[in-house]
């Protein structure tokens, strides 16, 4: 129980971001896909030192929205 409370309070830190920009070219359902995507992997380390990685894929539109949000955060942080 106590551990649960601790993990709730202690949010892990972002320690690494990796990315790949790729183009899906063809698949079994569609020969002409030609759709760009961004694949990202984030590594987060919690206070006990445990590292969790998550990977995900974004379409260009989704990436633009993600990028906008990160820039919004930067804008707010700068003004503080």
């Amino acid at each position: 129980m106590e551990e649960d409370v601790v993990s709730l309070l202690q949010i892990g830190r972002l320690i690494d971001v990796q990315w790949t920009l790729g183009v899906a070219v063809s698949s079994n359902t569609c020969k002409n896909i030609n759709s760009p995507f961004v694949a990202m992997a984030v590594k987060v380390q919690d206070s006990s030192g445990k590292v969790v990685s998550k990977s995900f894929e974004l379409s260009l539109m989704e990436f633009q929205s993600f990028s906008r949000q990160m820039k919004d955060i930067a804008t707010v942080l700068e003004t503080m």
Partner: protein, 187 residues
């Protein structure tokens, strides 16, 4: 004749909803009952197989309007034509409406990784911690929600992390690099 075209258009739409948009209610039985009640089951089966084949061919190479017109017209001229001259126009009208939606549905079907569904964030200011008396350091707390379309129940996964200005700077550097590469490659 007009009714026949209407039924054909309805059938094409129904097949698209069933095969590409995941509408499980659009079964063949349902479509037959609604649109081709008088047709024998065998003939209806043949008709739907032909329609499916035509849509699949157009979707497979994501035909634009010119390509689809050439393709469908040539199909109508074949000896064992899978489509009549009057159905050609209906099929092209259908393709004009559904081309991009079907393409998107196919794209979704071949992305098996986690998709980012939602990003939310807030800024906290730490005034003090147990270990040291910190100066007011603002920290961004970010929550990313992922969804995996491959899993049947659209499994949801969440990760939360905090970033100080330094780690945000690093993240933004990556974002800039990606943007530069996208720009470079889209030329």
């Amino acid at each position: 004749m007009a009714d026949e075209n209407k039924s054909y258009f309805g059938l094409l739409n129904g097949i698209a909803r069933c095969d590409y948009y995941g509408d499980k209610e659009m079964t063949d039985d349902f479509l037959k009952g609604e649109l081709y009640g008088d047709m024998s089951p065998d003939d209806f089966q043949k008709l739907t197989t032909r329609c499916r084949g035509l849509i699949k061919s157009m979707a497979m190479t994501n035909m634009d309007m010119n390509q689809s017109e050439v393709f469908v017209t040539s199909q109508a001229k074949k000896k064992d034509a899978s489509i009549t001259e009057t159905q050609v126009k209906v099929l092209l009208k259908f393709w004009k409406n559904h081309r991009s939606k079907i393409h998107e549905a196919l794209l979704e079907k071949c992305s098996w990784n986690n998709q980012l569904k939602n990003t939310s964030w807030r800024i906290d200011v730490k005034s003090q911690t147990k270990t040291k008396e910190q100066v007011m350091e603002p920290t961004a707390i970010v929550e990313l929600v992922f969804e995996n379309r491959l899993s049947m129940g659209k499994e949801v996964d969440v990760i939360q992390f905090e970033m100080n200005s330094e780690s945000l700077r690093k993240l933004l550097k990556s974002v800039h690099e990606i943007e530069e590469q996208i720009e470079k490659n889209s030329k």
